[in-house]
Point group: C4
Chain length 270, copies 4
């Protein structure tokens, strides 16, 4: 698997969850507000289980892909011939997917009769993201400074998301934290695609110059443009979900005073 | 635009908001305490909308200034002739203003019938400041150690303000956090002016010696003198706003015991 | 004492507490839920005192072992002959055990008639872990890069556990924090064993190559496999304790809706 | 002023406040518990004002000492003759005392009819400590590695205390945080004395060898022994204050069950 396909695969994994959450959380929030009956709870419960199962399934698929693609590691870790470790990068991504898989399994088990502590699912998601972050921190980028710079920027998205998930252990169902985490997931997904395009363009060629300082400065900015786009996409999906569910509001409505009161109410509900 | 004018522009942007907040927050606090009726709420609401619109307008003005001044980037980013990125510093500040612009737009939308989650405006302000901070972190200061040192000190003000704004997402309308954030904004504004005077004095000349260690040590101290001044200005404006609204208190009043009770009351109200 | 035995001793110290907690905390949690009478409280109280005494005793044993083993420091710190400090590594581990000993003494005193502030026991545990972490941070790994890398990874477990304990000062008896801290203790214990095997294998030989970059990358991954194992062991012990106390639940029970209600109840109890 | 006297002066400043707090906070806590009438509140109030005034007075004394001692800076900052900054170290400590002075003034003003926001005194203390920490961070230790190492260790105490004070803005009168902050102040005071003895012994001589790695390792340990001593002193003073106020408890009292209930009560009162 070429480096581009591999990065695109990872990017798609995070984009799927980020975009999915950007629709799911506003809907969950609206359902809870509109009707407090059991129907909405059950529907969210089913979606949570489905999400956990999808996460576990995609993680296992990712692990198998890293191992059994033509130039994968095929479960071999140490070469007796050369007395050296081999295919460590594939194993590193396998480790990363392993933790996301554990997180998916806990998401599903949270609704089993095992009665797990509430918050354990967010904790495992946070652990998965911290693991991913530390793996990139301690990765050995031998003499490829641009590669390292790209992954340093990625760390902002990873650790930002991990801290969000960690805070959600204590502040569950906080709309702002869910919004923030969603935007970080979309950012991470789109940045993996960008890394693929920069380091190994799909149309062939050697990738960008690893020594040009201009590339470093441009990509730093580019990362924050990705984040601006991620914020806009998350916001647009929230508004869109709201309109699909409630209808487009007339902008000149007379409920201004009510809106103020309702917002006071919401913060209490959080 | 010479470096001095550019730094002065940025400094003025932050000083305007910092000084504005140093008057606005004490007044908001007093209004809420004195009369709990709707009138004060509506007045604060209008001020918030105005502030958001001003922030968005100034940010757009800043973006246009960085692009279309004589030696700006004129929307050009990549030079086909030299195969290199050009005017990246202008683009970097454009990115910075972009996020402050987004923050301003969200400030305005917070009062629209869209019913945004409470706290999203503070989150976007925090994101704008973190973005600014990371842009300065990853900036390439090629061999200008004093330049880097000045911006390292600036990072204390930027990240301090960003953390304040982030905590306000969860502890909204906390007077101490607002005081702290205001002082960091004034510090940031006055430090941008200082950077301008050090690196490119308006009366011409080459700027300070980039290699003299004494300059480094002096500027470190100087930064904290700026902060002491920022704290004093914020405090003086608070006291002044209080006196304008309430009249000067007689220092020998007999309401000492009451003051104690009232302070107990205030912390509960927070 | 060879380096392997010394590392194995430290690893066993942390494993004993980590595995003990992985059984104790679920049982405490179940006791509290099932019967709110004094009997459970008294039983937990006795276990806490026993744990504190064991911690203090093991710490003193560790201190004596570091001092009075054949190649220990025998209370000598400065050699007048060579004008140099000697056996500083032994003294460093003595310092580490000293703080764990203080933590154990405070655990016992927390139930004495001295009426210590609640939370002081967690604070001292946190202080002990931070001390351990800073001692490893400032340790002088002269030219042994692999040694330093192994201890850098260990710092993740140490500071993670220290932060958990610090948060427990404010959020006492939080099941998630206790779960997290337990998993970090097991990780720390197993990683000390791993350090022993890597740096000074018990079957003799020179330890792993300190210059091979492959070793660095493999051990980074290996650390997170240890953590995955630590999480699984903690989870398995929790489930096992639950089954021993309550009997194995039938997976097809009809109490799904109740389970949801009960979980809502639990988060309030936390 | 030789470096030893200067360090001893700083150390005494922090020791006086640390030891004073180690007696004041337990007494405050006991007064509040025993009698909830106004008398205790007024007594604490007077002590707080006295403490603030002492802090402001000592800070001003420190500033004057740094300026007007024989080899002080005598208000001179820039030498026109050599075109260089002079006596920057004296100015740095003047800056440090300035912020402690501001903190002392706010402590006093907190009880004035100005009605400051509760928590502002703790915020200013935190700002003073962060300022001190950043001044040491950015200080230029030209080629004196041991000097830098000693101040790096000091930073643990400074930033630890600063974080405690910052948390007290939000969790006022939290006994654990006050205990922790007190221990960090005592540590800082005793470590300044240690720095004096290491770098410029009062009996003359050149100070310790700046290149011996053994010195680095020993001093790291030594710092934590200081902390163990600081913890013991703080704890002993707490217990002593308790005994002076309440009489020595009999260790075989029958109030064990009551003690447990009372402790549950205390955490609610916090």
């Amino acid at each position: 698997m070429s480096s581009f396909k591999s990065n695109a695969l990872r990017g798609t994994f995070f984009l799927v969850f980020g975009l999915g959450w950007s629709v799911k959380y506003p809907l969950k929030y609206l359902s809870r507000k509109l009707n407090a009956d059991n129907q909405a709870s059950r529907w969210i419960q089913k979606l949570d289980i489905l999400e956990g199962a999808a996460k576990a399934f995609l993680a296992i698929a990712g692990m198998l892909a890293e191992q059994f693609i033509p130039d994968g590691s095929h479960m071999g870790l140490y070469s007796g011939g050369t007395y050296s470790w081999e295919k460590l990068t594939n194993w590193q991504y396998t480790t990363m997917y392993l933790f996301y898989g554990l997180s998916g399994i806990v998401d599903v088990l949270a609704y089993s009769p095992l009665k797990l502590s509430l918050g354990l699912d967010r904790l495992l998601l946070s652990v998965a993201m911290f693991t991913e972050g530390f793996l990139f921190c301690f990765h050995d980028y031998n003499n490829t400074a641009l590669d390292q710079h790209l992954h340093s920027l990625l760390l902002i998205a990873i650790f930002g998301g991990a801290l969000c998930a960690l805070m959600e252990v204590f502040l569950r169902d906080h709309t702002i934290l869910e919004f923030f985490r969603t935007s970080f997931f979309i950012l991470q997904g789109s940045w993996f695609w960008q890394i693929g395009f920069v380091l190994s363009p799909p149309w062939g060629g050697p990738g960008w110059d690893q020594t040009d300082r201009g590339n470093f400065n441009f990509l730093t900015m580019c990362f924050f443009w990705h984040y601006a786009a991620a914020l806009l996409v998350t916001a647009a999906n929230s508004v869109f979900s709201y309109w699909v569910k409630n209808g487009v509001p007339s902008l000149c409505s007379s409920e201004d005073g009510d809106g103020w009161q309702e917002r006071d109410h919401l913060i209490i509900a959080c």
